[in-house]
Amino acid sequence: MTSQTSSACAVTGASGYVGSIITQELRKHMPVVKLTRNPKSEADIAWSLESDLDISRALRSLNVKSLVHAAWEMRANNLRKMEESSVRGSAALFEAAGRAGVERIVFISTISAFEGCRSAYGKTKLAVEKLLRGGSNVVLRPGLVFGDQPGGVFGGIRKQVQSSSVLPIIGKGLAPQYLLHEQTLAESIVRAVCGDFDQTQAVPITLAHPRAWRFRDLVQGIAAAEGRKVTLIPIPWHMLFAGIRVGEAFGMSLPFRSDSVISFVHYDRNPDFSVMHSLGIEPLPYEPA
C-alpha cells in the first residue's frame, strides 16, 4: 500500500452503507471531506446530485486531491429520471473536481453495470463509468457487500429473515450473487485512493469473490446464520415486475423497485474478474455459519 498522504479525500454517499465503510476506512489514512446534503461539520461540503452548486472552490480550499463517488439517486425508478439526476449530477461533480485540481476520482459503480445490461441502474452507472475513462481514475464494480453488521441489500435480507419465516423470491431464486466483504472493499478503496490502481486507467474492476451464490442459497445461508428457518415462495419475475410497476405508476412507495427486478434477472452472465486478480486483490469469501 502507498504511504499516507496529507491531502484530503472527498466522499459522496458517505451516509449510505457502502459510503460509510469507505469513509471509516479512509479516515485511518487521510482527512476525509464528506460531500453531503446536510453538512455537520466545517470539514463537510454541502452537495447533492441534484444541486447546481459549484463546489470546486470548496474542494480546493480543503486540499481535496482525491474523490470517491459513491452517491446515487436511489429513488428514481426509470432511465430518464436516473439520467437527469445521477448521470448529470455525476458529470457536474467530475467537472467541479477537475476545476478544483482533484487528481484521482474513484467511482463506485456496480456489478450490475456491464455492456448489454438492461436495468436503468446498470445503464446509468455504465454511462458514468464512461465519463471517467483514462487518466488515473478508478472504476470499481463491487458485488453485494456484506459484513458483520451489514446494511444495504444484504442487511435488508437479514432483516427480512429475522422478521419472517416465509419470504417471496424472484423466480426460482437461481440468479447468482457475487459477494464482497466489507474488509476487502475497505482495503481496495484505500489502495485505489492511494494510486495503487492507476494502471487500470479506469477500466472497470469487478470487485467480488468470484464464487457465485444462488440467491435462494444466500437467503438460506443468512437465515441459518441467524438461527432461523425460512420458506421461500417463488414469484414469477414477470408477475412481480408488473405488480411493482403498477404500484409505482400509482406513486406508491415500495421497498423494492421494478428496475431492481430487471437488474436481478438480467445479470452479467460472465463477470470479468481478471483485472481484480491482476491487482492482487483476493476477496474474502462468504462463509455462513
Binding site: 457465485a212 434477472v265 452472465r269
Partner: protein, 530 residues
C-alpha cells in the same frame, strides 16, 4: 511431435488435418471402450439377418434405457453407460442446475449422439472472429470420412450440402406425410420464416463402409447393430491404418506446460500413475468440460468463473392431424426424420433449429404413463400414429448458460458447473410454440404446448465457448487457432473455443473448425521451420 488429446470428433478431425499436412500424430485418450460382451453381441446381430433378431437377442440393447415426458434421462450406447463412465484422474465435477457431462470414451460423446449434422449460417456466427468461408474447407473435408444421409431440399439454400453425393435414409411414413403437408403450404410457411427438409444425419445410409445398409430395425436410439451411425472411433481406426498415427489409450491429461521449444503434457494412467509427454504442439480435444479444466489448470486459473455457452434444448410433442396406421410395425429408422429451421426476428434474430422425430418404441412408455387407468380403453395405436416429437435448440445468445469454476481442495480439483438462467429463454420457446400453433392448419401438426419441456443448461450437449476465439484475445480467450492468451503451442480445438453456439447442431462445425485449426497450425509450423 504433434499430440492430440481426445479421440472425439474434434480430435480425429484435427488429426486428419495434420496427417493431410504430412505430420505424424500421437493421440492421447482415456479411451474407455464398450464392454467386450456387448461388442460380441453386436457382431452376432450384425452377422445375422434382421428377421432372425429375436426380442431376447436384442434385449441387451435396451438395458438401462428409460423414457419419460422429459425424454430419455441419459442416452446410452448399446445398453452401456461407458460413454459417461469416470476414469482415474478424471476431474471431479459438481453439478448445480446444469446437466452436461464429459466423456472418457474412445470416440467421446459421438458414441452416443443423435448424429444430426448441419453447418452454421453466417448470420448466426457474426460474433465469431472467423467466417463461414473459413470453415468451408473443413466442412467439405469432414464429409470425406464422415458419412452423411442428406437430401438436396429446401434447406440447402441456407445450409449448403458441401457434398455432391446425396444418399439418404428412407423417411418414415409419418415424416413423409408431414413434409408433404408442409410442402403444400411452402409459400405461406416460407413467408412466416419456416423452412424445412429432410434430416441430415451422420449415418452410412447405404452401408458403404459397413457390412449392410440400414435395415430399418428401429433400434437407432439404443445403438445401431450395423454401426451405421457415425462415431469418431471409426475414423480413429482408419487413421491408425495409415501408420502415421500412434494411439495411446488409458491416458488422462491433467495439464500442459509450455516450454521454449514445445510443451510438456502431464497426465495419469488408469492406475493414477503420473505420465509425462514432450510435445511440439498440443491440440486439446477432450470435450468442453475436460478441455476447460485442463486449460484452467495449465493457466493456474483457479477460482475464476468462466461462462460455458449452451444452446437451449427443449422438447415439444406434436400431434399430427392425419394419422398414420400401423406405425408400430413399420420398418423405419428412429433418428431425427426432418428438420425445420425458423427464422423469425420477433422470436430470435438467430435460426431456431427443430428436429422432428416420428414413432419409436420409446414413445410408448410416457404415453401409457400419461393415460394411467384409461390405457386399456384408449386407442393407443391411433395416438401413436399421430404423435411426433420436436427436439429444439436456440442459439446460445438466447439461452441459459453455465458458470464453470475450478477450485483446488484437499482431494484435488473440483469443477463446479452452475446454471445461469436466462429469464427470456422459455418465453422465446413458448412464443415459437404459439407461432407453430397458429400455423397448424398449414403444417397439419398441433404443438402440445402444455407438454413443453425445457432442458436444463447442458442437457442437449451443445455447449462450449469457455475460452472463446477472439481476434484480440484477452484473459480467458483464445486466438483464432484456439490458443489461450500467452500460449503458442497449445491449441484448444473442440467446442471450448466457439464464441457462441448456434442452434443448428454443434458437432459438424466443431469438426470443421478442428480441421481448420490443425491445417493452419501445421502450415504455421512449416513456415517457422520448428
Amino acid at each position: 511431435m504433434y499430440y492430440v488429446i481426445g479421440s472425439g470428433p474434434a480430435g480425429v478431425s484435427c488429426a486428419q488435418a495434420l496427417i493431410a499436412a504430412g505430420k505424424t500424430v500421437t493421440i492421447l485418450d482415456s479411451g474407455l471402450q464398450l464392454e467386450i460382451a456387448r461388442r460380441d453381441a453386436i457382431r452376432t446381430l450384425a452377422a445375422s439377418s434382421k428377421s432372425d433378431w429375436t426380442p431376447a437377442a436384442t434385449a441387451f440393447l435396451r438395458d438401462g434405457v428409460t423414457s419419460g415426458a422429459s425424454g430419455i434421462p441419459l442416452k446410452l450406447a448399446y445398453g452401456s453407460d461407458f460413454s459417461y463412465r469416470q476414469v482415474t484422474g478424471a476431474t471431479s465435477i459438481v453439478w448445480d442446475g446444469a446437466e452436461t457431462k464429459p466423456s472418457y470414451a474412445c470416440g467421446g460423446l459421438s458414441t452416443v449422439w443423435g448424429s444430426a449434422v448441419m453447418p452454421h449460417r453466417q448470420r448466426d456466427i457474426e460474433d465469431w472472429p472467423i467466417s463461414i468461408e473459413d470453415l468451408e474447407p473443413g466442412y467439405r473435408a469432414v464429409l470425406e470420412w464422415m458419412p452423411i444421409s442428406v437430401r438436396n431440399d429446401g434447406l440447402s439454400q441456407f445450409f449448403p450440402l458441401y457434398t455432391d453425393e446425396c444418399v439418404s435414409l428412407p423417411m418414415s411414413r409419418q415424416a413423409a406425410g408431414t413434409l408433404a403437408d408442409f410442402e403444400r403450404h411452402r409459400g405461406k410457411l416460407n413467408r412466416q420464416g419456416i423452412y424445412f427438409g429432410s434430416s441430415r444425419l451422420a449415418v452410412d445410409a447405404d452401408g458403404r463402409q459397413a457390412q449392410s445398409p440400414c435395415v430399418q430395425c428401429g433400434l437407432c436410439m439404443y445403438g445401431c447393430p450395423h454401426s451405421l451411425i457415425y462415431s469418431s472411433d471409426q475414423t480413429l481406426a482408419v487413421l491408425l491404418s495409415t501408420g502415421r498415427v500412434d494411439y495411446k489409450p488409458g491416458v488422462t491429461v491433467q495439464f500442459v506446460q509450455e516450454t521454449d521449444t514445445g510443451a510438456v503434457i502431464h497426465a495419469v494412467d488408469h492406475q493414477g500413475r503420473p505420465m509425462v509427454f514432450n510435445a511440439g504442439r498440443v491440440f486439446l480435444g477432450a470435450g468442453v468440460l475436460n478441455t476447460t479444466a485442463i486449460l484452467l489448470r495449465s493457466l493456474g486459473m483457479y477460482d475464476r468463473p468462466l461462462q460455458i455457452r449452451d444452446s437451449q434444448y427443449f422438447l415439444l410433442p406434436l400431434l399430427r392431424l392425419r394419422g398414420t396406421p400401423n406405425v408400430v410395425r413399420e420398418p423405419l429408422h428412429t433418428l431425427a426424420q426432418f428438420f425445420v429451421e425458423v427464422f423469425d426476428d420477433s422470436i430470435s434474430p438467430y435460426a431456431i433449429h427443430l428436429q422432428g422425430y416420428t414413432y419409436n418404441d420409446l414413445f410408448r412408455g410416457p404415453v401409457l404413463a400419461a393415460l394411467g387407468p384409461f390405457r386399456s380403453i384408449f386407442p393407443l395405436e391411433a395416438l401413436l400414429g399421430r404423435l411426433m416429437l420436436i427436439q429444439g435448440y436456440l442459439h446460445s445468445g438466447h439461452s441459459s448458460s453455465i458458470t464453470a469454476i475450478l477450485e483446488r481442495n484437499q482431494n484435488g480439483d473440483t469443477l463446479t458447473l452452475q446454471s445461469a438462467p436466462d429469464p427470456e429463454t422459455e418465453w422465446r420457446v413458448r412464443k415459437l410454440a404459439r407461432k407453430l400453433t397458429k400455423l397448424s392448419m398449414h403444417t397439419g401438426v398441433i404443438p402440445l404446448i402444455r407438454m413443453l419441456q425445457m432442458g436444463k443448461p447442458g442437457r442437449g450437449f451443445h455447449s462450449g465457448g469457455s475460452f472463446p476465439m477472439s481476434a484480440r484475445p484477452g484473459i480467458g480467450e483464445t486466438d483464432i487457432l484456439g490458443r489461450p492468451q500467452g500460449l503458442r503451442r497449445v491449441h484448444a480445438i473442440d467446442s471450448t473455443v466457439l464464441p457462441s453456439i448456434p442452434a443448428t447442431t454443434i458437432t459438424y462445425t466443431v469438426m470443421a473448425n478442428a480441421y481448420r485449426i490443425g491445417s493452419a497450425a501445421a502450415m504455421e509450423t512449416d513456415r517457422s521451420g520448428e
